[in-house]
């Protein structure tokens, strides 16, 4: 079920009413309802893949309980390996089997050895990368004795499959989300109000901005070999805005719907394009995934508490694996690797946290130095997005080659829809100190009502543009 579908527009109010009016304050039933709703939500796409969520949940539930009872290090390691094998095995099979087989055959072909390609027609289960990582964090945290396992099977299953963030995150930590399933939720007006605003802003970003930019990004990327360099710049700008609006829009709706049910899930985006260096960008972009990789990949490898060479290795591995997490294609690997390369100088200069505040804090506009920093960071991200969006590495290089040709200085063909490329950053700039731009309590009620109505009308006007699925569903 898509957040931007009529199905969800009917589904969610029914769940909301049942949740708060029929079984209000009965914790067990609230969790049971969430679990049922989550399985319906996921099964709407393909009920057969519910078995994978069920399998992941039962394995980690049992492993978690067992880990708590055993002190023997060897046995604990075996138990953790079972969980890792089960979860990463499923992920590897469904997401990477064909990729690895093809890559293996191709690399043998380079050596002159011909192998038979035996690819399988595998459907990628929606959201598998998200719930796999979420449930993995549970067992790893228990293994590290940072978390106590739960005996409440309903609560645990509901935590793994919690529908607002099941298919595209944020990837929640058990430490934050699971305890919320263990205590009675009661309706808080301020939370619900903010939840609705989150949903409205998320829908606006997805339906009005992301889906509009998608039309032009797709068009320009498919005709890159004949387009002018200036048009290719617009193409990658459109994609940058598309992927941000699409994914952060999803996260906003997820956070909003969770809030409406009395849950607080983590922030996933913090205006990433207003970053002054790549380290800051990664603290603001897909926060739940970046911190996951930091805690479960980067730090266990030694993190930054080792020699320079090892630090560089750790950074490159972490970023490359995070690229591969996005999809079974060398383009994602290249994208991750490139970001790793961007990160190394900052790390070597020990300036990872030099921009931990808000850009131009307390000021209306940034100064010249900040403008240069913002522009250069954005430029680097744009270059990386070319690899992310291109169907293969060769196309990415051809795209860049053509973009930086003489035609870069020709006037591009501008479309009225490009106005969204400006409107979104303008709105976000002036609201960058807020959790989301619709935190507008200080405005007069009539002005607020006008803003809500304008956004709702825009969503209505744009909502039939192919009803596109969220990009991150495929990851």
């Amino acid at each position: 079920m898509l957040f931007n579908s009529i199905d969800f527009a009917i589904f969610f109010p029914i769940i909301f009413i049942l949740y708060w009016f029929v079984i209000n304050k009965k914790l067990k039933y609230q969790n049971l309802l969430i679990l049922t709703a989550s399985y319906i939500f996921y099964g709407w796409w393909d009920w057969r893949f519910l078995s994978l969520i069920f399998f992941s949940s039962i394995v980690d539930y049992c492993v978690g309980l067992r880990l708590n009872k055993i002190d023997d290090k060897k046995k604990r390691k075996i138990l953790l390996a079972i969980s890792l094998l089960a979860n990463l095995g499923l992920l590897g099979f469904f997401k990477y089997y064909n990729f690895f087989i093809h890559s293996l055959v191709d690399s043998f072909a380079v050596m002159g050895i011909t192998l038979h390609k035996s690819s399988l027609n595998i459907i990628l289960p929606v959201g598998i990368s998200f719930y796999t990582f979420q449930t993995l964090s549970y067992t790893i945290d228990i293994y590290r004795k940072k978390l106590k396992p739960t005996k409440d099977i309903i609560a645990f299953f509901a935590f793994v499959s919690f529908f607002p963030q099941l298919v595209a995150g944020p990837i929640e930590r058990a430490k934050n989300l699971l305890p919320q399933f263990m205590r009675t939720r009661s309706f808080v007006y301020e939370d619900a109000k903010d939840g609705l605003r989150h949903v409205l802003w998320g829908l606006f970003k997805k339906i009005v901005i992301a889906d509009t930019c998608a039309i032009y990004a797709d068009k320009i990327f498919s005709t890159y070999d004949t387009a002018n360099g200036s048009m290719l710049v617009i193409g990658i700008l459109c994609f940058a805005v598309q992927i941000y609006s699409d994914f952060s829009g999803y996260s906003d709706i997820a956070i909003g719907t969770a809030r409406l049910l009395g849950f607080n899930i983590m922030r996933n985006f913090a205006y990433p394009y207003f970053s002054r260096d790549i380290a800051e960008f990664w603290r603001r972009w897909h926060i739940s995934l970046s911190t996951w990789f930091r805690d479960y990949v980067y730090i266990p490898m030694g993190g930054s508490r080792c020699s320079k060479l090892l630090r560089i290795r750790n950074i490159i591995i972490t970023f490359t694996v995070s690229g591969l997490w996005h999809g079974a294609n060398w383009t994602f690997v290249a994208w991750g690797f490139l970001n790793g390369i961007y990160y190394i100088p900052i790390m070597l200069l020990n300036k990872q946290k030099s921009h931990s505040d808000q850009v131009a804090e307390g000021k209306l506009f940034p100064n010249i130095r900040e403008i240069i920093q913002l522009a250069s960071t954005f430029f680097l991200t744009l270059i990386a997005w070319v690899f992310f969006r291109a169907p293969n590495i060769e196309t990415a290089f051809l795209y860049l080659n053509r973009m930086f040709s003489k035609t870069l200085f020709t006037w591009p063909r501008l479309e009225p829809d490009f106005i969204w490329l400006l409107i979104l950053p303008i709105i976000e700039w002036f609201q960058r100190d807020k959790l989301h731009p619709l935190q507008i309590d200080k405005l007069h009620i009539s002005l607020r009502a006008c803003i809500y109505l304008v956004l709702a009308m825009l969503i209505l006007f744009y909502c039939d543009r192919n009803n596109q699925a969220f990009i991150y569903f495929q990851f």
Binding site: I6, W20, F187, Y189, A192, K193, L196, A449, Y452, L453, A456, M457, L460, F461, C463, D464
Partner: protein, 327 residues
């Protein structure tokens, strides 16, 4: 919770009101902004309702091919009866069924000519073609049936959101508010009365060959919309119940256009087979060579007859249906 629900309700009501008012503004495009009222559905329904009850003998239903092929004036002259064309752009068999039911509320026709075009069974958009009729029908039980059965649930929902339904008119309305100019349609395209639209223009060979909208069209019997086929059968049954002779007619297409449709040769056998099954007379003007239509003088575009072509077809068809009247 109470405060939250009240606020949600107030905002929802406000949103519905704004959407409704704005939608009405956008809707005006269809009746007020097209120059010389060339958008025919509201005109033909208005004329239909002002026609004296129990006077219409022959009714034409179907798509734009119906509107532009069957000239009631010629039929009236040859048959000495009263005919009326209720074809509308893209009218699907589903919509035709409810149009016919609306006709039967006021009239007892002797003959129904249903125009059969394979695209009416494959085109997805029921909302637009259905809306062309639904919006201008009088409130009745039939209209309610049309609303609940003629549209998919998601399509029915859009009636609650006129701003969404008529969103494509926004640029015309803005243009009108800004420049004061109405939307111009072809000067030659004129409403001739009784639902018939006509145009003198002839299509060029270049347009037929190089700018033909049928270029990528294909006929695939297995992909025809089953629900629409069901409504075609329902229309036949409705006529039988009311002892009305129904005749299926497929309007001619330019030879160049036919040659561009993939598996075009399968269209006639498919509908002929269906007609035989339902015992409905079927005339297909591009399979039937009795009347010769010339690509560059009888068609206004790649698939519609012009005034000349419509005259040829109407004269022939009117003569042919005389035998059904005699029986």
């Amino acid at each position: 919770m109470k405060k939250f629900l009240i606020k949600v309700l107030v905002y929802s009501a406000l949103f519905l009101c704004v959407n409704f008012l704005f939608g009405q503004l956008l809707k005006l495009y269809r009746t007020h902004l097209i120059e010389a009222k060339k958008f025919n559905p509201p005109i033909k329904w208005e004329e239909f309702y002002t026609t004296e009850a129990q006077t219409i003998d022959i009714v034409f239903i179907g798509s734009s091919h119906c509107i532009r092929s069957f000239d009631p004036a010629i039929f009236d002259k040859i048959t000495s009866l009263y005919s009326y064309n209720l074809g509308t752009p893209g009218q699907s068999p589903t919509t035709s069924y409810f149009v016919l039911k609306e006709v039967l509320r006021f009239h007892k026709p002797k003959i129904i000519i249903q125009e059969i075009s394979f695209r009416g069974f494959s085109a997805k958009n029921q909302l637009v073609n259905g809306g062309y009729n639904f919006d201008f029908m009088k409130i009745s039980r039939n209209k309610l049936d049309f609303f609940f059965n003629g549209f998919k649930f998601s399509e029915s929902l859009t009636f609650l959101f006129p701003s969404f339904r008529f969103r494509n008119n926004l640029r015309y309305v803005i243009n009108y508010l800004y420049t004061g100019k109405k939307v111009k349609k072809s000067k030659e395209d004129t409403y001739k009365g009784k639902g018939f639209m006509s145009r003198n223009h002839s299509v060029t060979l270049d347009e037929l060959k190089n700018n033909n909208i049928y270029e990528k069209k294909a006929f695939n019997a297995s992909k025809l919309n089953k629900n629409r086929l069901k409504y075609l059968e329902k229309t036949v049954n409705l006529c039988k119940e009311n002892k009305i002779q129904i005749i299926w007619v497929t309007a001619p297409l330019p030879k160049i256009t036919i040659s561009k449709i993939r598996h075009g040769s399968k269209i006639y056998p498919f509908f002929k087979n269906l007609a035989d099954q339902y015992r409905v007379p079927y005339i297909n003007y591009y399979a039937d060579k009795k009347v010769k239509f010339i690509d560059t003088s009888d068609f206004q575009d790649t698939h519609h007859l012009n005034r000349n072509g419509a005259k040829k077809l109407s004269t022939d068809l009117a003569k042919r249906i005389l035998e059904y009247l005699d029986n």
